[in-house]
Amino acid sequence: MPVESLCSMKIEEVHGQLVAFYPKYTDQGNVTRVIYVSDRHD
């Protein structure tokens, strides 16, 4: 299951599933957005 999240998590926890990371301007400011694939089913 693809999951997208702001980079507040530890990269060490998702490094194997990391698909992309890129800079983004948001309401919270200048952040790095990370896209990773998770097996988690919500």
Partner: protein
Amino acid sequence: MESVKRALARCYAVDLPAQACLLREKYHRRILLHFYLTDGRVFVPFKLRESRISGDACYGYIDIGQVARLVPGNEPYVNLKNGDRLPLYSNITNARLAYFMDLEIMADCVGPHEDADLDLVNAPAVLRKVFAGEAQP
């Protein structure tokens, strides 16, 4: 951005400055932002936003294996295999060049991912060849 890149490299014990130096020499490029990990993934840099402030990062990284297609047009974008679309802020030609550079790095620098189980399966054949070689004059 750089902290994510460094954290990722740390997970795979990759020396990014040394790797960048090797890639620049190998491909005769003054600037080369690509990097790869020991598990076989190669990350390609794409311009994924316009900077509002000078010095802000514009480039993001995508695992080449997750790119489904670079879609041209007035508003080009990267189509990911998971269905996500990331808008490109460079022209499609530059994006394609980055993509092909990535393929070259993958072919030249990234070996097949080591599989310990496969090594065990192949072990008898390797041993047979070794002993056959020793038996011959």
